[in-house]
Symmetry: C2
Subunit: 356 residues, 2 copies
């Protein structure tokens, strides 16, 4: 039976990417060796890294102001790497608290400067995105989390501010066009819209670096990674290769503008059903709803297990909601097809027919 | 043509591991999903992590004193993570400088305490392992690099000291039995003897943690990773899975004692030829020669390119020496067969016959 993968992350990847990745594990480009046992300095892998960087630049319309890095580790490491690189101990930065990941970013950043939490939606279980336009220009940067995987909220437009934005874009990068000029730094763990867990994309404005007075360990200093073109140490070869394949797939499917259309269509399909179907409701404020992670609940929570069982029976897996919200969460990243979302909508309709 | 992979890292993995890894990328355990698109909290992947940790404990005879972690990133990140977790700013630690990686570890550690370099073999291009037995007991720990990939040297016995050892074991872990009681912390990037690049194994004595006064960012604090059983954040799923497969392979092939016999046999075969063949010589002191990375040179350096070409012609790839030593380097990690080393020896003999 065909499976529709609604996991929040690690998450669905295009089938053609998975098949190409498996083939490369057996034999990489006719070398007679596996992708995972060759030198990262082989010309074959250097070409992969170069193509991955070039695709990021092309897809997001990045010019010479920014550098693109593929680092090891996850976005959680950026919670300290970012302030250590960008913020001096006596400087101040503004953070917005929109959920679990934002809170963790704030906690770590407080070790490396004066962190002010300008706004938080914790008062309503993070069900909306607080507005933070026109903030004071004395902040070194404004840190936001563009999409909140757990709570199903997303910035539909980025704040209109006169300070640079630093953004954790882990769960919606490459899902829509962005204006790169607004950002001093973007970081994104691969395992939602880009590839397998194990690499983190960092896009950083060159002129934002080299301004802190603290001495940084080599692996923390982003300048080292820029100079070494993401090969200061052995990079996570396989996650980067698969990310490159996914970036190719995005390019071949209309780029990020194409992804935006695809994602809005899917989200609309699902939200229309949530609004229409009297058994379900959305916990999030309409204007801030995520196009990547759609949270929804049953009015009758006693039926939750049965709904999950019906979904699994129809091939829809990974729909369990995070314990912070409950109910269900359909993660419908780039690689999820409209067919998959329709399969879920059909289950919701059927559930209404049999239980409504 | 069959390829013999002598790359220094990322490096050769057992063929059965590669085939199982490729199969899991296509469909993981009959789930109808790829290994690289499932939740790290799925019961299937939690079982992988549990088995990987259990295998490390079984293979290295680790009891309850130590914890086993699979972290993201490379061993280079441990150059700062280790002192940040183990050493207070006013405490002192001893380091031994045996090459490039040891030097980098020293440079980073100096930011986090009083670092004394007890000995260095830099005077002779790192061609030997300096002796550091019976050191002062006032050091918090002694940091060593057990095997020096670039220079082809290796501790054949660990220093006889009354302080705990912290060891970068990236390039020879699981190649031989070790006495775990000597170590407060062992770290090892996966990409030599364990798996693909992208995860680092950390084995840490529990009682060595929680003793520093500095406040640590969440991802730096090893206690968080212990508490979350290496799932504080999304772990590098694929590199950990492949590492688990390799650990199974080690267990099924005699464990680390079996690997030791296998590795000594291979190293002996190659060193015997280097000693016998008048065209070649070893740059390293005999008693400190690595069983993992065998460096050797031609007396007539003008023939180097021709030798490499002959080797490639016979399927032996990755033999180019590091620029710091020159000549050739045969990395003969666990997964390299005696047949592969014999193929290299045959080329050396043939080279003597045609050029000697």
């Amino acid at each position: 039976m065909k499976k529709y993968n609604f996991y929040a992350g690690p998450a669905i990847l295009p089938r053609e990417v998975i098949e190409a990745a498996a083939a490369a594990v057996l034999d990489f480009e006719g070398m007679g060796l596996s992708l995972i046992e060759i030198s990262h300095r082989s010309k074959q892998f250097v070409a992969v890294m170069d193509e991955a960087v070039a695709l990021v630049k092309e897809l997001l319309n990045i010019g010479d102001e920014h550098e693109v890095l593929f680092l090891s580790g996850g976005a959680s490491s950026q919670f300290y790497l970012t302030p250590m690189n960008l913020l001096d101990q006596d400087e101040k930065a503004a953070y917005v608290d929109t959920g679990t990941w934002a809170s963790k970013a704030i906690k770590d950043a407080k070790l490396f400067g004066n962190i002010e939490v300008l706004a938080s939606s914790k008062d309503k279980n993070y069900s909306y995105i607080p507005k933070t336009d026109n903030i004071d220009t004395s902040y070194k940067y404004l840190h936001i989390t563009s999409n909140n995987t757990i709570f199903g909220t997303q910035y539909q437009t980025f704040p209109d501010v006169a300070v640079p934005i630093v953004c954790d874009m882990s769960s919606d990068i490459f899902s829509r066009p962005i204006d790169i000029h607004k950002f001093d730094l973007i970081y994104a763990g691969a395992q939602k819209n880009m590839g397998p867990a194990g690499t983190t994309l960092v896009i950083v404005r060159k002129s934002a670096l080299s301004k802190v007075s603290r001495v940084l360990p080599a692996m923390i200093d982003m300048k080292n990674h820029i100079e070494a073109e993401s090969m200061y140490n052995t990079p996570p070869v396989f996650p980067i290769y698969v990310s490159m394949l996914t970036l190719r797939w995005i390019k071949n499917n209309g780029g990020v503008a194409g992804m935006q259309v695809r994602n809005e269509t899917k989200a609309q399909l699902l939200f229309d059903e949530i609004e229409r179907n009297p058994m379900f409701y959305s916990p999030t404020v309409a204007e801030d709803r995520s196009r990547m992670n759609v949270c929804f609940l049953l009015h009758n929570t006693a039926l939750e297990n049965e709904f999950i069982a019906k979904a699994i029976g129809a091939g829809c897996v990974g729909l369990e909601g995070h314990r912070s919200v409950g109910g269900f969460r359909a993660s419908i990243y780039n690689a999820m097809s409209a067919e998959g979302v329709q399969a879920l909508v059909d289950i919701m309709k059927e559930f209404e027919r049999t239980h409504g």
